[in-house]
Structures are given as structure tokens and as C-alpha cells.
Amino acid sequence: MTRLALALLTLAFLVSPTAFAQGMASADDPRVGLGAGLFDAEEAIWNLRMLSTTPPPEDFIGVTNSDLAFQGNYVFQGNYNGVIIWDVSDPANPELVTEYLCPASQSDVSVYGNLMFVSGEGLGGRLDCGTEGVEERVSEDRLRGIRIFDISDIRNPEYVSNVQTCRGSHTHSVLKDPNDDENVYVYVSGSAPVRPAEELPGCVSADPDEDPNTALFRIEVIQVPLADPASAAIVNSPRIFDDLAPAPRRTTPSPADVRELEEARANGAYIVRMFGQERVIPDRFVTMLLNSVVQQRGGEGEPTEADRVTLRENIQEIAESTFGISAEPREPGDGPQRGPNQCHDITLYPDLGLAGGACEGYGLLLDISDPVRPTRLHAVADSNFSYWHSATFNNDGSKILFTDEWGGGGQPKCRVDDPMEWGANALFTLEDNEMVFKSYYKMPAPQTNQENCVAHNGSLIPIPGRDVMVQSWYQGGISVFDWTDINNPVEIAYHDRGPINAESMGNGGSWSVYWYNGLIVSSEIARGLDIFELAPSEHLTQNEIDAANTVVLTYKNAQGQPMYEWPPSFALLRAYMDQIDRTGAVPAEQMAQGRMMVADAEMAEGAEQRSILNMLAGGASQMASDTPAGRAASRFAETARALASM
């Protein structure tokens, strides 16, 4: 037993590693052995179609492309030199709309309405967007935080304001609360060191017990009034990590414990007071302590009776210094703060009032129903995880996935001998606001030593009835996988290039990739903007792709998760039909008949159409059950009824 059995904290590191169901792809995977090149690397592609690849504009070549945001037909691509805006109305030929030079790392970008937000973290970012950097350790020219632009004129973004923060902004999350139409909120966390107080007053890098105003162990909540974005300011710095340190297992010993202790004392056992409770020291430790007593007096050999007396008289002191224990009980928040001191990404799912915080050694589930005061609901840790990086919920909020950016994205963590549970995704079910670990998923094709590769950013693809996600793996390319069966996630599509350089690790690969209105858009760190679409395969039918493409977003930010809703359509009906078919639960003849009826319904009109649809709904309802086929049938019936009532 340990003290770690906490109601709100699951620590997986005490259990042995879960057997890893997923295997590495075989050596004949087309992604193995691709030729190197910057703009001419060999490529492998499966179940995707590449629509275009567009190198960055000249001022941005050779400078890191970072995260993406979307609005209307525009794609906003961050770059350490500023922001590039593309019009992707014709995805085969993206049109460069705006190149805004304003250097800062990482230049992660978000949009809301006529506002654009850009993260600045590195030391070279300037308030005046100059390209000369900032040399001095302390400078009034430095920008580390959030830049706010007005993009009413998309071709001429207007720099409205800054909000400076102590650790800068590595990434950020824009929260539009469904109940607040006057403001948006920006959650900022930084992973870089705290800037000096001489540069930004009030910035302190210390443990909270040394200085309660420390910039560590908190996130910043910026409120941006939509009517006056220039007055954006930090309104709260919630300490969502407080008391993640283990708390005492119990405060009073049980009667059995007391009895055992008294018996031991009567038998002459050595007893110490440890964190508020008396404990018997086991024999093997007594031997160790006795030997140290002998050593202390400069003696040799077996301990004498005098040594035993010395030990007995000084047992508390000796045990405290040897084992690092204390006689006093631990209080919550006692001792060094051991929770994380920052988050990398916070994925907001406003429709559920939840957020997933990937925060150093923890994955957190946050309640964001009060946007200014997010609170922690649950926390998980996992000894297979190095650095919790980002989170993605499934659409109905019954699952959450966290990524581990082991090595920070600059290291080759997908080599053939890198464990499949390291630098991977960890998949959890969400049960009454508690995360329960189920499995790992890692892009399965081994990569070379010259390819930085680890789990990175991605998004759900709205395949109805399934949990399908597209994700960046840096130079490991992009991987589309299905995690509907959370115990057995499976890859269903990919794209990969050979390394940038065959002999040396280059800085490249897919930083992030998101589904947006039928397109799969990837920000390639070195090569520019890649646009794909899904191609039908044994894993995904054209009907499922068509149904996904009925979902239309007006905007999308990297760390904001919209709830996908499918308007009733015949494409949706056919997608569910394909899913019933895929299970093999329904005989082919019956499926063929159903498909004919769906075709008839689509051609029919008015009362006749309603009648066929209701007939289909009635038939499918009878199949409804808690099996994959039964769930698809139930969704089919619901869609048929919705179509009938339109």
C-alpha cells in the first residue's frame, strides 16, 4: 500500500507496463526507406489523395512553420517569422492572401470573428514586429505573450494589442463560452523560463511556498472584450495544479495497527514516528542502521550492545536522516510543490464545458463552465509518458486522448527500437469525469535517426458513428487512425516523406494537421502547406467520407474542439448502412435490399419518400442493440426518421 491511492489522482507508474497490443508495422511498409530531400523527398501515401503542396512565401522559407487556424475559406499558418494566410477555396491551388512578417516563436495562431491571436514565447520577439531580435536579457522591446490583430481586412491585419505574460506563450487556447457573447477568453501557459521582474514587473520564478505570487504553477486567463479588444488583460491566474502532491493516506491508525504496534513495542522493536504515525522498523533496516552506527564511531565488525543502545536512544533522528522522513504529519500542500507547474496545451471543448490539460507529467480534466475560473476534475499520470503535450476528446465526450511529446519534437522517437508506448498517444475512457486508461497508439512505421518523430497535433475527422483522428508525427508524417474500439486503435491512412537530409537531422515534418470542411490540411515545418482529402478504402467508404463532408465549420482553432453535428442526409444514411455492412452482421441479400430502398427513397418525393424512410427506420430499429451493428442501425433509424420529418 502506498499513499497514492487518491480519489482524484491515478498514478499508473506503480503498475507494470500494459502489454502492448499494437505492433510496429512490418519492414515492407512503404514508409520505410523513403529517399531524402527538402522539396523532392520520396513520398508514401495510403488512403489519402494529395491535392497540393505549396512551399512557403520567400520571407518564410527556412523558418519553422507552426500551427494552423481556419476561418471561412482561409487557412492561417503560423511561422516563426509571422503569419501566412492562404485562401483554399481551390485546394489544388492555394492562393497566398497575406504574409505578415512579425517574428516570434512559436507563432501559434487562433482566430475568432475579426480577431487573430498569435503566441510569442522566444526571446527574439519584438513589440514592433522587427526582425532584428532582442539581444538584452532585459528589454522593453521584447514581446512574450499574446499579440492581437484585427483581421476585418484579411489582406491587411491591423496590430491591435499585446498581452505580456511572465513565461511567454508557447501555445494558447481561445475559449468562446456559449453563455458569454461579449468576451472571448485566451488561456495561456508557457513552458519556457520565467522572464526577469525587471522586464515584466511581478514575474517571479519560485516555489509557491517561497513566493505565493510565483508565475509557476498556474495558467493565465486573458479576457478579450469583443467590443474593445485593445483592453484585453489577464483576469485570473488559476492554480489548477494545487494539491496534486500526494496527501496522507489516513490520519488515524486502525485498532489493528495499534495492537500490532504495542505488541512490537513489548517485544523490543525499534519504532519511529513517521509522518504523524508510529511505525515499526523492519529487521533488515535495523541491521542497516546498526551498521551505520558502527561506522559512525569508526568501528568495524558486528554491532555491540552499546551500538544498540545508541540506536534506540537516537532512532528518530537517525531514521529521519537516513530515510528522509519526518515525524510530523504531511498536510496537503506541505513540502515542495510536486504537481506540474505549467501546461503545454489545453484543449477546450466548450459544448461539454470540459477541457483536457496536458501539463508536464499529468493529464488533467478541467471544468471550464466558468471560463474565468477553470477547476480540476481529475488527473492522471503514466510512467510511460514523458511530457504530456495535448489532448483530444472524441465527439460525444466519452473518451479522451493525450499525446506524449517525448523529446520535445526535436528527437527521433520512432526508431525501430523505441518502445511503442513511449512518445505515443494514451487513450482513456471518461467515466463520471474520471479518466480510465485503455491503450496506446503510435504511428507504426519505423523512421530513421534523421527524422524527428513523436506524437503531435491533430483533430477528429467527423466520420459519423466512429472516432477517427488525423495526427501529425513530425517527420513521421501524418497518420489517420480509428479509435472507436479504444482497446484496439488501428491506422487507416497515412502520408510520409523521406527525411529532409539523409545524413543529418533536419528541422521538418508535419507540425499539425486538421480536418476542416472536407480538407485535411497539414503545416509542414520546412516544406510549406500540404492539403489532402480522404480516399475510400476497405477502412472507410465514400459514403462515410461524403457524410463527414456534410459537417461545415465556420472556423476552427488548434486547441478548440467543436462538437460535430451531422445534418440528416442520404449520405449519412448510406454511411451508417456501410457501417452495418462492415460488421458482417447482416446477410448480403438483406443489405442489397436495404440499399435499394434507400435509393428509392432518395428518388421519391413527399409522402412516398416519408413512407419508405419510415419503413427503413422501423426495420433498423428492430436491430438496435449495444453492438457495433446495433449502434449503427440505431443511428440509421434516427437519421431515416429525421429525413422523413424534413
Binding site: 502506498t2 522539396f39 512551399p55 539581444e135 523560463p193 508536464e360 499520470a381 523529446g407
Partner: protein, 281 residues
């Protein structure tokens, strides 16, 4: 089981001599790949791919602005990481618990890769590169001279101008020019044992002799100390004007800080659980 940390010939250490430039070093000498000049037919009609590629590599070279503090950090952190590898190695042989072995394996994997990154960073900038050699528990670090073929497309650099200083009597050397004590904590120049968090020979020997649960406790205790030292080294780097401006340096230093801070928290929890369960068997 003795930790051997030979010192280095000061004259070889461009970045460590007291007269080394504090100004950003001119990037012109940096040996990054020079693209082939012969231009293949551009695939996109309106854009010349070869010209773009040339521009790409030129920008990558130009982006290499760095200071003496960055070079000192990289050289020092290689030695610091190397000791973590020695410690991680012990976990395999000393009856560590499964959890500690897993932690050690991950530290080994992560820091081996980071050493390679730091070596590449130094090599790309024509700086002296510490080469790490571990035999048993003996750690030897040798400085590979900066490549004299700067500007060449030397990616590995392992065979470029590396000098073997083993066997030299370093104790008699004058380390005055290598004294980093003005850099806040990096005392004793390239004698890595003076860096924050480094285990002393005695601590390393103690860890090497420990077995089972006692090894776990010591490993966690000393690795926390070691990681805390790395965090201090990053903070020292950031306290210098003009340091950590280069993308590679800022990213690597920030990542080391973030990851090791997270690992310290995890190790502290593991240590607590060990302490708490010590008397419960």
C-alpha cells in the same frame, strides 16, 4: 568504478577561452549542407525549386546566432547528460524495481538523443564537441577540435580533427583560461564535476554499490539532484544577454527544463511512495 573526467586543453576550446567573443558569432563559418548548385527543372512553373532550396539552407545558416553562453551550455550539458547515462546504466545491473528500470531506460534514451543534438549543434557552428565514452561506470569525455573544414558539408564530424587527450596529465594543466566561474555555477571550467547537480565520485560509488530497494531510493534521490542541476544550468543560460536566441538553443534548453522538471515531480512521487512503503512489508 571511479568517475574519470579528464580536463581539456584550453587552447582547443574556442568558446571557452577568456578572449572568446561574447558577440554573436558570425554564422559564415557554420558547416551546414550546401545544396547542389545544378538546378533540376523546377516542378512548379512559377517557382524555382532549386533557388528555394538554396534560400532554405542559407536561412538555416543565418539563423545560427549564438553566444559564448550557448556554447558553454551545450558543452557543459553534454557532460552533465553523460553522467545521467552512467547512472541509468547502473539500474540495469543493480536490481532496480521495474518502475525505476523503466524510468532509467527512458532517461537513457532521451539524454542519449539530446547529447547527439547538442553535439550536432556545436559541430554545425564549428565549435569544439565533447565526445562521450562510457565503459562500465567510467565516463570519459574528450573534446573534438572544431572542424577545420568549416563550410564543408560535414554532418558527423566525428572524424574531423578529433584529438585524443587521454593519458595526458591534466592535473598539471593551467585551467585559468577555462574558468567559467563568472558564468554562475559552472565552476572549474570543463571539469564537469563542478556543475550543478553532478554526483561526486563518492555518491556515484555509493549508487553503484547499492542494490534493490536501496538502489531505487538512492537512484531517485540522486537523479532528482542531477535533474535539478540541469534546470539551474538552463536558468544560467537564460540569464545571459543574447543567449538562447538561436531556435535550436532556445528549444533544446526549454525542453530540457520542461521535461526534467516534469520528471523531478514524478521521481519525487516515486520516492515518496518508496519511503511510505519502506516499513510496510
Amino acid at each position: 568504478m571511479r568517475l574519470v573526467l579528464p580536463l581539456f586543453v584550453a587552447a582547443l576550446l574556442v568558446g571557452c577561452s577568456s578572449s572568446a567573443p561574447v558577440e554573436p558569432v558570425a554564422p559564415a563559418t557554420a558547416p551546414l549542407p550546401t545544396p547542389a548548385v545544378e538546378a533540376p527543372a523546377a516542378e512548379t512553373p512559377e517557382r524555382d525549386m532549386a533557388a528555394m532550396e538554396a534560400l532554405y539552407w542559407q536561412r538555416r545558416r543565418e539563423a545560427m546566432t549564438y553566444t559564448e553562453a550557448d556554447v558553454t551550455f551545450m558543452q557543459g550539458m553534454i557532460g552533465h547528460h553523460a553522467q545521467a547515462l552512467v547512472m541509468a546504466d547502473m539500474a540495469r545491473n543493480n536490481g532496480a524495481s521495474a518502475a525505476v528500470q523503466r524510468l532509467a531506460a527512458r532517461i537513457d534514451n532521451a539524454q542519449t538523443d539530446e547529447i547527439a543534438t547538442m553535439q550536432r549543434w556545436l559541430r554545425d557552428r564549428g565549435q569544439a564537441v565533447p565526445e562521450v565514452q562510457i565503459e562500465g561506470y567510467t565516463l570519459t569525455i574528450r573534446m573534438a577540435e572544431p572542424s577545420t573544414e568549416a563550410g564543408n558539408t560535414s554532418h558527423d564530424g566525428m572524424d574531423h580533427g578529433q584529438m585524443d587527450h587521454e593519458g595526458m596529465d591534466h592535473s598539471a594543466m593551467d585551467h585559468g583560461a577555462m574558468d567559467h566561474s563568472d558564468h554562475g555555477g559552472m565552476h572549474g571550467g570543463m571539469d564537469h564535476s563542478g556543475m550543478p547537480g553532478m554526483l561526486t565520485d563518492a555518491q556515484l560509488a555509493e549508487l553503484g554499490a547499492a542494490r534493490g530497494a536501496e538502489f531505487d531510493r538512492l537512484f531517485l534521490t540522486y537523479m532528482i539532484q542531477h535533474h535539478q542541476g540541469a534546470v539551474v544550468m538552463v536558468d544560467v543560460l537564460f540569464s545571459h544577454d543574447g543567449a538562447a536566441q538561436d531556435d535550436g538553443s532556445f528549444k533544446l534548453a526549454s525542453e530540457i527544463r520542461a521535461e526534467q522538471t516534469a520528471e523531478i515531480a514524478m521521481m519525487q512521487l516515486m520516492l515518496d511512495s518508496l519511503t511510505d512503503s519502506t516499513f510496510e512489508d
